[in-house]
């Protein structure tokens, strides 16, 4: 009895945050995280790379996107050397234009992550909206959207991205190509990737819309859009978020692939894929650092994000628990 009194007396404002944190720390997710060293490592790598990308302008010794800062005379400096001409120190060496490879990786992963996140958000928003509509309304809308999705699924997504990229660029004047390269990349990768979100959301929506709470909402006369966004949407988001995490790794790789093929970011604003494309010319000539370090960075980034996504899917899926 006295215990009960004590509890009610405690200020709810002060008690709630530690309670929430404690609940979180005691949750299955954290339990699972702590028990898997690979996941802990992946988290650390991901966080380090996110931080490196985020704070690139403060960490990097050089802005590799600003042509004024490149010293051509320092081209091909090996790792851990100081230039005789300019006195610049190159931690991971410099490339054919005198671009510091370490700075280029930091700035390049910035682009890779930006494109990855934005493309996933774009695909997620588009796919969720179309999936909700198809699942909730049904009828010809459902048929139309899902047939388009089926057709698009038959093409590899990188092929779709190449196609969309080419079409968008065709409509833009040439002088804008370099400026909008990043937006075009985001749209191309996003458009090539919305289908899986739409399918997941449609399926979940069809299940949810038959449930009692939705029928109850209907009976009290709520408009469709309110039912959709306030009642159904929160309940179908979980699979979408899991797909999104794995999709991030795929989008990062898609961006790298496009840039590697020479249709993504230009060599003057290199992303990780562009750096690898440029570096591969020096594979046999002894300047291994130009290719190796960006390649390792991309591998680490894609692998750790993918591992996190896989882990999250397992944890959030009640059937696998």
């Amino acid at each position: 009895m006295s215990q009960d009194v004590q509890r009610t007396d405690a200020s709810p404002v002060a008690a709630k945050p530690p309670g929430a944190l404690r609940t979180f720390l005691a949750s299955d997710i954290v339990y699972s995280w702590k028990r898997q060293p690979v996941v802990i490592l992946a988290t650390l790598v991901t966080l380090t790379m996110f931080a490196g990308a985020l704070f690139a302008p403060w960490i990097a010794p050089q802005n590799p996107f600003d042509p004024i800062e490149l010293e051509l005379i320092d081209a091909f400096s090996p790792p851990l050397t100081t230039s005789d001409f300019t006195g610049n120190f190159y931690l991971l060496g410099s490339d054919s234009q005198g671009r510091d490879v370490f700075s280029a990786i930091l700035y390049g992963s910035r682009i890779s992550l930006l494109v990855g996140f934005a493309a996933v958000l774009f695909a997620l928003a588009l796919g969720t909206a179309l999936g909700l509509m198809a699942g909730f309304r049904g009828g010809w809308r459902d048929a139309l959207i899902m047939r388009i999705a089926d057709v698009q699924l038959t093409f590899p997504s990188i092929l779709m991205a190449l196609l969309i990229f080419g079409v968008i660029r065709g409509f833009l004047p040439r002088s804008m190509h370099a400026e909008v390269a990043i937006i075009v990349l985001i749209v191309a990768i996003g458009l090539s990737d919305w289908v899986q979100y739409a399918r997941a959301v449609r399926g979940a929506t069809m299940v949810e819309k038959g449930k009692e709470y939705v029928q109850a909402a209907r009976v009290i006369g709520l408009p469709d859009h309110r039912i959709l966004f306030q009642h159904i949407l929160p309940n179908v988001m979980r699979p979408v978020l899991v797909i999104g995490t794995i999709g991030l790794a795929l989008a990062i790789i898609a961006e790298a692939t496009l840039s590697f093929l020479g249709v993504g970011m230009p060599a003057t604003q290199p992303s990780l894929g562009t750096l690898i494309r440029v570096g591969q010319d020096y594979m046999f000539s002894g300047e291994w650092w130009i290719l190796l370090f960006p390649g390792v960075a991309l591998l680490l980034l894609a692998l750790s994000v993918n591992l996190l996504g896989d882990w999250l899917r397992d944890v959030l899926n009640p059937k696998l628990r």
Binding site: P67, Q97, H177, E179, Y282
Partner: protein, 526 residues
């Protein structure tokens, strides 16, 4: 054991014996020929491929000496200095069996003068071509042209009957993207015939055993497989792994490695090609710039660009020494070359910034630079270096580097403000440069002058060079013209290219400064 050795010996002997008769050479370079239509494009890799399939009246051998091809002799007509006489080789047949006649030569020369033909720029001095008899062709020029045969070294001879049969009497209109029968099929008189062709992938040629020169040249290759490989690393890997036997354009970063690789060797020499940047200085307004006028029209801006571009650093850092910084668009072995004009201005950023400010562009401007990425040695790298050099004088350059078929097609449609181009002088005479690059773009002349540059005196001199028979007076004209375009800074020269070919070390083949291999000369050392 003994039997085994004997057997192995016999097999080896059989292999050697058959190798002498059937030698395949697998050849690669960065770029494919743009078309098999021999008159449509005047472009290096296109001519290099077509030289294996077709013949010209006169050609430049591996030492760039002029040699008789389908013409056995040529001279100015005794009675009329306007007429060049070409004696046509007898007993020559095309790959599909038609006999070569003077009429085929007349047809080919006229076809190359058609408005679709890029080759027409070499033939502006011609008034009429006629067959005097079955083995004699008379070429009449408007004015006496002492150097006419020099213009024929890439002028391939086709069969009239074949062209009429396939409806290709007119050359392909390349700029319009036209596709004709002659683009993928060829019927020449050359040392090799086409077995199959997939553009940009693989072209298979076989020895023409009925070749008129079969006993005259080594002709040791029975099958020639040409696989263009765009990526430098892939090209080098192909040679290192034995997938190809001869690599025509060795990337500068791999020269050392390939020279040291067992079983491989490099052959090097100066190339007849100068790399430079062109600017649209004629338009009132640029297409890609953020100004509403044309900064390139101001000579001070062009001088500032010339001062900002540091050719020596490009030579050291981008080309690893495998180039010669240039001040004029003609390599040293071309008539009219001047060491004084070819000297490179040392980079001077301070002076360049002053000039920009004087011209009213102290805050700089923005413009797009167009580059090929698979045509010249390190073309994209050079352009990137230029981007960073021009940034220092406030010019923000957006770089577009793309494959050469797109680059040249867009350049030909005059869509570019600022571009990279390379130029060789197959005639070994400056007139060729003025005719294509400096003469006002009009009619047959100035067809590669995309700068909008037009100077009355230069036009006058260009025309006069083609007619003057007095060598001294002619050289004075060439000198005057070079001085004018040099002072005007019409182009920004970068460097003269050096050539490296890498190959199996049992191949006996030297580089040719036109970068045009004639595989009929190739020998295998035993």
């Amino acid at each position: 054991m003994l039997r085994k050795t004997l057997l192995a010996g016999a097999v080896a002997a059989a292999m050697v014996a058959s190798a002498a008769h059937a030698e395949t050479l697998r050849w690669t370079r960065s770029a494919d020929g743009l078309t098999l239509d021999p008159h449509s494009q005047n472009e290096g890799p296109t001519h290099a491929l077509n030289h294996q399939i077709f013949d010209t009246l006169v050609y430049q051998d591996m030492d760039v000496e002029y040699q008789p091809g389908l013409a056995t002799e040529w001279y100015v007509h005794e009675d009329d200095p306007h007429v060049w006489v070409f004696k046509i080789r007898e007993g020559v047949t095309f790959h599909e069996g038609q006999a070569l006649t003077a009429d085929d030569v007349v047809f080919s020369l006229n076809r190359a003068r058609h408005e679709n033909a890029d080759m027409r720029g070499l033939l502006t001095s011609i008034k009429e071509v006629r067959a005097a008899d079955d083995t004699t062709v008379h070429v009449e020029t408007h004015d006496p042209n002492p150097l006419l045969p020099n213009n024929f070294t890439n002028l391939f001879i086709m069969s009239r009957a074949w062209a009429e049969e396939h409806g290709v009497e007119e050359p392909q209109n390349y700029a319009a993207g036209e596709e004709t029968y002659a683009v993928r099929n060829a019927n020449g008189t050359g040392p090799f015939r086409v077995v199959s062709r997939e553009p940009d992938v693989r072209t298979v040629l076989e020895r023409n055993d009925d070749y008129w020169g079969i006993d005259h040249y080594p002709m040791e290759i029975s099958e020639l497989i040409f696989t263009p490989i765009e990526s430098a690393a892939t090209r080098v890997a192909a040679l290192l792994s034995g997938e190809v036997d001869l690599l025509q354009e060795t990337p500068v970063q791999d020269i050392e490695r390939l020279g040291n690789a067992p079983g491989l060797k490099n052959e090097q020499g100066a190339e007849n090609r100068t790399i430079f940047l062109g600017m649209d200085l004629g338009s009132a307004e640029l297409r890609t710039a953020d100004t509403d006028d044309n900064p390139f029209a101001d000579r001070r801006v062009r001088e500032a660009i010339d001062l900002a571009v540091d050719q020596s650093t490009i030579q050291v850092a981008v080309m690893r020494g495998n180039s010669q910084p240039a001040g004029m668009i003609a390599p040293p072995f071309v008539n009219g070359y001047s060491e004084e004009l070819d000297a490179v201005l040392p980079a001077d950023i301070g002076r360049a910034q002053e000039l920009m400010a004087e011209a009213g562009y102290g805050d700089g401007f923005r413009v797009t630079l167009q580059c090929p990425n698979d045509r010249y040695v390190n073309d994209e790298q050079i352009c990137q270096a230029v981007v960073s050099m021009l940034a220092r004088i406030g010019i923000t350059v957006d770089l577009v580097a793309q494959t050469r078929s797109l680059h040249f097609a867009e350049l030909a449609r005059e869509e570019y403000d600022f571009y990279m181009l390379g130029w060789g002088v197959p005639t070994m005479d400056s007139e060729y440069v003025f005719n294509y690059l400096y003469h006002t773009k009009a009619g047959d002349r100035g067809s590669w002058n995309f700068t909008g540059y037009s100077d009355e005196r230069v036009d006058e001199l260009t025309v006069a060079m083609g007619q003057e028979t007095d060598i001294e007076a002619r050289n004075a004209m060439i000198e005057e013209a070079w001085q004018i375009v040099h002072d005007e800074i019409v182009y920004i020269p970068i460097h003269h290219q050096m050539l490296t070919w890498s190959m199996r070390d049992d191949i006996d083949f030297k580089v040719q400064s036109e970068n045009t291999p004639h595989f009929k000369y190739l020998k295998f050392n035993d």
